[in-house]
């Protein structure tokens, strides 16, 4: 199995520890003048999402994690699994409820998502930065009201609750930033 020396540590590097795959978020090299050097890293457990600090002696080796990312379209859910397809190879992946937990709010048919695979199995699904979704529920729009900052609650087709400006109508399409969950603008086409 491929392995990495601590001197190769950098953010984004993925390795195995205690049976779980981890992603390096930050890496700092520390050395007491003379003597043993250490690598202090902030790492994310790719299964649980938990972030932790770890210190390794310089020169230690860790096993590489067989983790890769593919772009895949969301197809459907059968209630137990969520199915995605890589559009050029037609390769399909079934993701568990844990893997889709963070993306459920923004999950929409035929939209493209980043599927993180570990040993070929979906570990987590990340949404694109922006999605266009239909408003399925909100109070009637107040025409002409474009006042900055005034918002009302709304529900979109995925079931997610967001805040939208007062003029937005039920049935309209809106563009949302998935990183913040915030309304950005009205949209014409999905």
């Amino acid at each position: 199995m491929a392995s990495y020396n601590t001197s190769e540590f950098k953010s984004g590097l993925k390795f195995m520890m205690d049976g779980d795959p981890y992603n390096i978020i930050e890496n700092e090299f520390v050395k007491p003048g003379k003597g043993q050097a250490f690598s202090r890293v902030k790492i994310r457990n790719l299964k649980t999402g938990r972030v932790l600090d770890k210190t390794f002696k310089s020169g230690e080796k860790v096993d590489a994690a067989d983790v890769m990312e593919v772009d895949a379209e969301y197809l459907y859910t059968d209630g137990e699994y969520w199915h995605f397809m890589e559009p050029t190879s037609f390769e399909q992946y079934q993701a568990s409820a844990t893997a889709v937990a963070d993306v459920l709010n923004w999950l929409k048919d035929q939209e493209t998502y980043i599927v993180t695979l570990w040993n070929g199995e979906p570990l987590s699904i990340s949404p694109p930065n922006f999605v266009v979704l239909k408003i399925t529920e909100c109070d009637p729009g107040i025409q002409g009201n474009t006042a900055q900052g005034a918002t009302k609650p709304a529900i979109v087709e995925t079931g997610a609750a967001i805040k939208v400006p007062l003029f937005v109508e039920e049935g309209e399409l809106v563009k949302i930033d998935t990183r913040t969950g915030e309304y950005l603008s009205r949209a014409k086409e999905a």
């Binding site: 003379k34 043993q36 770890k54 210190t55 390794f56």
Partner: protein, 323 residues
């Protein structure tokens, strides 16, 4: 392709001024500026410092050469030949990953003062650094290695058993994973639990290290415990940023040879490649090395403090990744 320097014009002006101040400082004290080779046929034996190695091809004969990690060996050859007080400002190289406080190529000031013991050396280094860093509080902190461990962790680093030391290190630094030899456990505690406590507004000197970390410093029996051997070595910091490493120099030829050989043995134990010992340095020690104190100071880090930079590369024109 990005071509612009990392450091800005202000950092360049600051560097030029600092180099001039250092040269003035030593000119007034009649310390001679010298040069020694950067590429040597021998290498630093310290198992925790890796030299860059290169093969030179000259008329079909290949030869290994090493970039110096400090000019210590050849400067001591000059001392042995009667050079008197000397200093050097030069680039040195250490095969280490880059970080906020590390660049594999950096500028070092190394100097030697005849007849200086460790406390005279620390005194002068304090004067020099305070003149380069006038904003620092002038009340510098001095603590022995033992005091730091006793005051902050409640242990005597010279006498604690390996077992107790290891379990304390694991308890104080739970995020550590891996094996801990004695040296690594002490270094882990120093870097993770003690250095972060040093004040940011003044110099902190650590001195009297365990003899196992003496490198080429003199050792002497502790006045408090006849079983403890201390290294007359110091490190100087501002906050957790280490600026320099000084010795009351080891002058005995056989003791110098012993250190180099034991470092080579440690390299072997750590599965590190062997490196050629500097035999010319050892010959110079045999011919007679004067009693002296010496220190190496990282100039880029001093510049970092002067300019308030948070990363080394802000004071370097072209950092490792941009070189």
């Amino acid at each position: 392709m990005r071509w612009e320097p990392d450091g800005d014009q202000a950092s360049r002006v600051d560097r030029a001024k600092t180099l001039r101040l250092i040269r003035e400082f030593f000119w007034q004290r009649q310390v001679l500026e010298v040069e020694t080779p950067a590429l040597s046929a021998s290498a630093n034996t310290d198992p925790f410092i890796e030299s860059f190695e290169l093969s030179t091809g000259n008329a079909g004969v290949t030869e290994k050469r090493y970039l110096h990690t400090s000019p210590e060996y050849p400067m001591k050859r000059l001392l042995a030949t009667g050079s008197g007080d000397i200093y050097q400002i030069c680039k040195v190289w250490r095969a280490e990953p880059s970080s906020r406080q590390h660049n594999a190529e950096f500028t070092m000031l190394e100097y030697y003062r005849l007849g200086f013991d460790l406390s005279q050396l620390m005194d002068e280094v304090e004067t020099l650094l305070l003149s380069l860093l006038p904003k620092l509080n002038r009340d510098s902190q001095y603590a022995t290695y033992a005091e730091l461990f006793l005051d902050n962790l409640g242990i005597n680093p010279h006498t604690i058993t390996n077992e107790k030391l290891r379990s304390l290190a694991k308890q104080c630094v739970p995020e550590f994973s891996g094996n801990l030899e004695r040296q690594a456990a002490l270094d882990l505690l120093l870097t993770h639990c003690i250095e972060p406590l040093f004040p940011n507004d003044c110099l902190t000197f650590i001195y009297d290290y365990p003899a196992t970390q003496s490198a080429l410093a003199k050792t002497e029996v502790s006045p408090e415990n006849a079983d403890v051997l201390l290294a007359k070595r110091c490190e100087v910091y501002v906050g957790a940023l280490e600026l320099g490493n000084g010795y009351q120099e080891l002058t005995s030829a056989s003791a110098n040879a012993d250190v180099l050989n034991s470092e080579l043995a440690a390299r072997d134990e750590m599965n590190l490649p062997p490196v050629p010992i500097d035999q010319r340095f050892l010959s110079a020690m045999k011919s007679g090395m004067p009693e002296c104190g010496g220190i190496a100071i990282g100039i880029d880090r001093v510049l970092m403090l002067q300019t308030g930079a948070s990363e080394l590369k802000q004071v370097i024109n072209f950092s490792w990744e941009n070189a």
